[in-house]
């Protein structure tokens, strides 16, 4: 006999194996993508169960970059401050250094935030900054803050995924026990590159030619004698013994990752086909003997193949299974887009699943997930591959005085605000999902992330991106008061809450605020500039923060109905040039 168990908070005891757990969505894989999916789904009231094979998060840092967009999503989950505290202080990440050894000659440097102006510009683009924080720390924080209607079951391996009349059944095995069965309406496979369930539901893997194998050494040591005064996110080292990169994981406690790509057949043999003295490699990267490196301790060593992989389809033929994160795409680590793309996949998918589960949108809405996310993932893959090839060439070049000459050409590898914040969904014909990798230009056109602007409410600052975190939001200027009435009449869109906010101009004061007047004030004109609203025009923002449509406000009810009808029945965003009337 099987016992029925409702999802419980993560801290509750694990269910007995042999139990049947019911949920709205089962997520296979408790890495960053799976955990983020649980958070975002739970935020929309979707009961979610995550199955994870590991009993504890991996101690190996793996990914380390949390880009601005992901930090915005973590901010909405209320864990951005904790991630920032767990990460590397800004002053340790604002630079990239190339040197012969850490204690040797500096060959070149690239300032990512070179000036006060550059920092102020970043502050204009987002209410958060990117952070270097290792994947294992982010995972621990995501688990720690999981809401009540999401639950992680650890130590179970999902082995079988079968259809049921109303969804899916995942059978998992625990250590020495009877199987655990989870029945849900949908499954999200966030099982990583090596998971086994995708193939069983017809999601076939594709793989580009690998770009080589990497050796990762995770270690602790006090490297401050050689980093003080030139603290960097990455220290690339080029010498006769080691050509690789020293990644800053925690400079305060002295935690590092040495990544060494095999650049030739000889190196493949040296690193992966014979006994390797990892201490010697660290010694060569630092340029000091082991006994001169205080506190040196190797935690773990990993080797892995660098390359891009994908899936022929991100959704099973019966529509009940969707892949996300590394299960759908992997890239070389150069650029740090892997974990970020996965978390952002989950964010795109969560509100769509919530809308469909509530019965307020057709199943076709879920097709827009792959249609929107695949081009972004493919762009990130191509960019990461280009970065990897460029870095490989740079590591093979001579460590001579000429080295620094073209270093600025490598900026898009490390400085990519345009890619991070500027990607768009379903761009126009012939347009790329990213227009400019380095420079972000705010725009509130359909498909783009609704830009950030600080808004004032009685002295408190609220970001415009905060207005659509749990539902749809209409953002309009002083001429758009009619939208408040419309939102009151239409309390939900696709089953999710709809709000309308009238934003006053930068010069307005509290005294200008009548009962039906602006609720928030544009602090410095950034809202007016980036949203460029005319008259009664409004921007309709989706729960994932992307603009669904610009509504002229001529026939507001009809315009809203038309935009909503299109998204809930087809998942299609109104074409950018299309005028809704």
């Amino acid at each position: 006999m099987t016992a029925h168990v409702s999802p419980q908070p993560e801290s509750d005891p694990q269910p007995e194996t042999g139990a049947l757990v019911e949920a709205d969505v089962v997520v296979v894989g408790g890495g960053p993508t799976g955990l983020a999916a649980a958070h975002f789904l739970a935020g929309h009231g979707v009961r979610t169960v995550v199955l994870e094979q590991r009993l504890t998060p991996s101690g190996h840092p793996r990914a380390t970059v949390i880009n601005s967009r992901t930090m915005e999503l973590l901010r909405h989950l209320g864990i951005d401050a904790a991630v920032r505290r767990a990460g590397v202080p800004l002053q340790n990440t604002a630079r990239i250094t190339w040197c012969t050894e850490l204690a040797g000659t500096e060959l070149a440097g690239l300032d990512i935030i070179a000036s006060a102006d550059a920092l102020m510009q970043r502050a204009v683009n987002s209410p958060v900054l990117p952070v270097i924080c290792s994947q294992n720390r982010v995972e621990a924080l995501l688990v720690d803050r999981l809401p009540d209607n999401a639950r992680v079951i650890r130590g179970v391996k999902a082995e079988e995924l079968a259809p049921t009349p109303s969804g899916v059944r995942v059978t998992a095995s625990g250590e020495g026990g009877r199987p655990l069965v989870v029945e849900a309406r949908y499954a999200v496979l966030a099982e990583g590159l090596h998971g086994s369930l995708r193939e069983t539901v017809g999601l076939e893997q594709t793989a580009a030619t690998p770009l080589g194998r990497l050796l990762d050494i995770h270690f602790s040591a006090d490297l401050s004698p050689w980093t003080a005064g030139r603290e960097s996110a990455l220290y690339w080292v080029l010498n006769d013994t080691v050509r690789g990169v020293l990644v800053t994981v925690d400079p305060v406690d002295g935690e590092w990752l040495l990544e060494i790509p095999a650049l030739s057949a000889d190196e493949e043999h040296r690193y992966f086909e014979q006994e390797v003295d990892h201490h010697k490699l660290i010694e060569a990267a630092i340029g000091k003997p082991v006994d001169a490196i205080e506190g040196l301790r190797i935690h773990s060593v990993r080797n892995w193949v660098m390359g891009s992989t994908g899936l022929t389809s991100w959704r099973s033929a019966d529509g009940r299974v969707l892949a996300a994160g590394d299960a759908a795409h992997t890239f070389p680590p150069t650029g740090g887009f892997g974990m970020n793309t996965g978390i952002q996949d989950a964010h795109n998918l969560a509100w769509k699943l919530a809308a469909v589960l509530r019965g307020n949108a057709t199943d076709a809405l879920l097709d827009s997930y792959e249609r929107e996310r695949r081009p972004v993932a493919e762009f990130n893959a191509r960019h990461s591959e280009t970065n990897a090839l460029q870095k490989r060439a740079l590591l093979q070049s001579d460590a001579d005085p000429e080295f620094a000459r073209n270093i600025e050409e490598h900026r898009p590898h490390f400085d990519f605000e345009g890619q991070t914040l500027g990607f768009s969904y379903e761009p126009g014909p012939g347009e790329s999902v990213v227009q400019d990798v380095v420079n972000y230009r705010p725009t509130a056109q359909a498909g783009h992330r609704a830009p950030h602007a600080w808004l004032d409410r009685d002295g408190d600052r609220i970001s415009s991106i905060d207005l659509a975190r749990t539902g749809f939001a209409l953002l309009t200027g002083p001429g758009g008061a009619v939208w408040r009435q419309v939102a009151q009449e239409t309390a939900t869109v696709a089953g999710l809450p709809l709000t309308a906010t009238v934003i006053g101009t930068a010069g307005s004061t509290a005294a200008d605020t009548a009962a039906d007047g602006p609720q928030l004030r544009d602090v410095n004109g950034a809202f007016a500039d980036s949203y460029a609203l005319r008259g009664a025009e409004a921007v309709l923002v989706r729960p994932d923060g992307h603009v669904l449509a610009r509504l002229p406000g001529v026939a507001p009810r009809q315009e809203l109905a038309q935009a909503v009808d299109r998204i809930v029945t087809t998942g299609l965003m109104p074409a950018r040039a299309e005028v809704l009337s």
């Binding site: 505290r85 002053q91 604002a94 502050a123 209410p127 305060v252 600080w454």
Partner: protein
């Protein structure tokens, strides 16, 4: 003279105390507009000047490429702006009137409420900057070190 709100004696004493925890407690729950109005009074000005005068006591110092000047510009409309230069070396901090120490290495401009929040570690400079409340000009590397130089990391943040 600008007339501001009247604060109870305990709150005033806490704001004047220079003790970070007491100042943070005094700020808790105080509407921003009310504190801004009070900081524009002569009483508020006195507290702001005291904060500056006591900054050397909190200076922990650190590696410094020679002598550096950090200029703080504290706006308190409608009253006059307050500005001081903090002249920093590896182990010393001196508070001077502006214009007596040459061009500043970095200038930090912020409203008086944000200044009190930052000086008491009730808010982090980076948060204030991201909220558009703090502007910096000049050497960004010195600017982002400011809190660690004065032991002003938020509770729980690495110093």
């Amino acid at each position: 003279m600008t007339v501001g709100p009247l604060f109870p004696p305990e709150r005033l004493a806490a704001l004047r105390s220079g003790d970070l925890a007491d100042v943070r407690a005094a700020l808790a729950g105080l509407p921003r507009a009310e504190l801004a109005a009070w900081l524009a009074t002569s009483e508020g000005e006195a507290v702001l000047r005291t904060v500056f005068e006591r900054m050397p006591e909190r200076y922990t110092g650190g590696p410094m490429d020679g002598q550096q000047t950090a200029r703080w510009v504290v706006e308190r409309e409608p009253a006059e702006t307050l500005a001081y230069d903090l002249v920093l070396t590896e182990d010393n901090c001196e508070v001077r009137r502006t214009g007596t120490s040459g061009e500043p290495t970095v200038t930090l401009t912020l409203d008086a409420v944000s200044f009190v929040e930052m000086a008491s570690a009730a808010a982090q400079g980076m948060d204030l900057l991201l909220q558009g409340r703090l502007q910096i000009q000049g050497d960004v590397h010195l600017a982002v070190r400011m809190e660690s130089l004065f032991g002003l990391a938020a509770p729980g943040e690495p110093g």
